[in-house]
């Protein structure tokens, strides 16, 4: 009995030692050296795995950062400059400052909500509706209103407006990861610079049809008339395929185009007062002043 136990212990013990030795050498041979820096970088990232950086997730982004050794061309949009600074510190490289961006929905349908032209009751998916027809607004370039972008957003920053059915972006929550822009089958969501004091001007339309046809599709459509292009002091506006585009790197948010646009297709965001046509000529301010003089109160004041 004792002998049997002894045999078992010796055999199993010997096998155990043998496997341990084999495993040791195998582990040495196939050793994977991972930079501990990757873990550290991954730690400071937001961890939403939104994919906005173009990598598979936050860890893949961290790997890319460490491998490259600097932040050239790598940016975590949700983390912004704060995260970029932390990563730069960990990597010991220069921080690349990025302009904060925000998602912008480039559609403002005239025929939406109660005024929609047809009633879609199929599958609630923009990607599907896009293959069926123009959508409820009747514009082949416009928002379909099924909320594929809302579903794609990891940050609860984009919601469908209950009245118009078109998504609106919550600029405070939006991290400009670009998930909504990718989800939109009509590509009407664009990432634009937030702009100074959160003020930005953009063309809220994607209709590339000729003016007359675009007008039939939607009263708020950009008709490619070129008035904005002419009025822009920074030549930030270009017109391609009957559609105006404002280059946000050149735009100074003077809002001359907003005033000029005949179809109100150019929108301004973040300004305290609505855009009004400024008095064009120097004599113009004199005219209201003269009017004022005629008012009796003004006369008494004068006296």
């Amino acid at each position: 009995m004792t002998q049997q136990i002894l045999i078992a212990v010796v055999v199993l013990g010997a096998l155990g030692i043998l496997f341990a030795v084999v495993l040791y050498f195998v582990a040495q041979k196939f050793k994977v050296v991972e930079d501990p820096l990757i873990d550290e970088v991954a730690e400071v990232l937001p961890g939403a795995n939104c994919g906005g950086c173009g990598k598979a997730g936050c860890r893949a982004f961290a790997e890319a950062c460490v491998q490259q050794g600097n932040l050239e061309g790598l940016r975590c949009a949700p983390g912004g400059d704060a995260v970029a600074a932390k990563i730069a510190e960990l990597l010991g490289c220069a921080m690349v400052q990025g302009e904060p961006q925000v998602a912008v929905v480039r559609c403002n349908p005239a025929n939406c909500g109660e005024k929609r032209r047809s009633n879609y009751d199929g599958l609630r998916s923009c990607a599907f509706q896009n293959t069926v027809y123009t959508g409820e607004s009747g514009c082949p370039f416009g928002c379909l209103g099924c909320g594929d972008c809302v579903e794609a957003c990891q940050f609860d920053a984009i919601h469908l407006d209950p009245v118009t059915g078109v998504p609106t972006v919550d600029a405070d929550r939006c991290t400009a990861c670009g998930a909504c822009a990718k989800a939109c089958p009509r590509r009407i969501i664009e990432l634009r610079n937030k702009g100074k004091k959160d003020r930005r001007v953009y063309v809220s339309c994607m209709n590339r049809e000729k003016g007359a046809i675009a007008m039939k599709s939607c009263a708020n459509a950009c008709i490619g008339c070129g008035k904005c292009e002419k009025v822009c002091p920074m030549s930030a506006i270009t017109i391609t395929d009957n559609l105006s585009y404002i280059d946000y790197t050149k735009c100074i948010a003077c809002r001359k185009c907003v005033v000029e646009c005949p179809t109100k297709a150019i929108h301004d965001v973040g300004f305290p007062t609505p855009a009004v046509k400024p008095a064009p000529k120097p004599e113009a301010p004199a005219a209201p002043a003269a009017e004022k003089v005629e008012i009796p109160v003004a006369e008494t004041a004068k006296a």
């Binding site: 032209r117 998916s125 599907f128 293959t131 069926v132 123009t134 046809i213």
Partner: protein
Amino acid sequence: MGGVHPEENKISNDAAIEVMPVGKQMVVLMNQHLGAPATPVVQKGDKVKVGQLIGEAQAFMCANVHSPVSGTVLKVDSCKDAFGLSKPAVYINVEGDEWLETIDRTPDIKRECTLEPKEIVAKLKEMGIVGLGGATFPAHIKYSIPEGKKAEYLIINAAECEPYLTSDYRVMMEHAEEVCIGISILRRALGVPNAYIGIESNKPAAIAHMQEVARQFEGIVVEPLKVKYPQGAEKQLINAVTGRRVPSGKLPIDVGCVVSNLGTTFAVYEAIQKNKPLIENILTVTGKELPSQHNYIVRIGTTYNEIIAHSIGQLPETTGKVISGGTMMGKAVVNLDAPTVKGNASVLVIGEKEARRAPETACIRCGKCASACPMGLEPYLFSLLVKNGRTEEAKEHNILDCIECGCCFFSCPANKPLTDEIRLGKNRVRAMMAAKK
């Protein structure tokens, strides 16, 4: 396998085919078929005659487009189609009704055809013939049998299994002889011994009439079919007539079959024997709430509004949808100012109550969709896979075999939009495959 029994509603069965008058202006889309749009060969100010070529097929998958009217070309521009999408089009101001001299407009029936198979196919191409069963597949491509393959069966689809549609039925009742000549021509083009006309047995009058006429022709067999939707779908029809099954991802010609729609055979007859290009549709105007039911011969390019105005005056107030096609596979028309195109088989008016989809509820795992699917697929599974973005798995489960007949949605007690989900899934699978290439 599978199939459903929707209400037939063939209420326009007894309305004889009438001729719809030509409007004042015609818009002819260049994109009336599966594939690339035809290239316009006329310019503003050109005078055209009925049957003159105005759009030429330059791509491989394309078909010629001919002028359905005589008059002056107003412009070559774009026009919104029935679904609101802009398509290239030729606008023609109608002046008189002057036909090309080559077109034989006499009512005489011409039986003899001495053309060689290659000449027949060339003429089908010249005349812009496309399949009129719904897919508008260019006929000259279908009847050019690829090298190394051989057609053994020609099957004519006269099942007309879609609810409401009666245009094929009327063609059989009124133009049986022409149809049989058209079939003989196609038989000659393919070199097959026998052609089978598949008719659902709920049309006994059509079966009897076709059998009587077919007796005068060699090698045409009328095959009564079980009543079941989708009996007229290509693969189901092949199975019903020959007992063969088209394997997944293969074409009918791989099992030696060529399937043609009945309307197409009539168009083939007119093209080959009468030199008449495809410029007219035979179209049903029907709906339960309409005061009268009609079947028309309509020039291609007539707008939906013109058809409605001529046939019933105006749409009833309770109209919910106007559908081009039947209730199962037809598409709702959002732009009634759009011109009709080749292959439009109906203007179907559905009441508001009937048009609305019932609210969707949760899947109760009853499996009705799987037993209704004529392709033996599992729609409930696709629904989940598509919802969760598992495109690869959907492909493995043969989502691309789906023929989009709508049986799953029709049979679902939870009103889940299964067909829509599968169509979305198919698009994703195709995009994925294209990206891999």
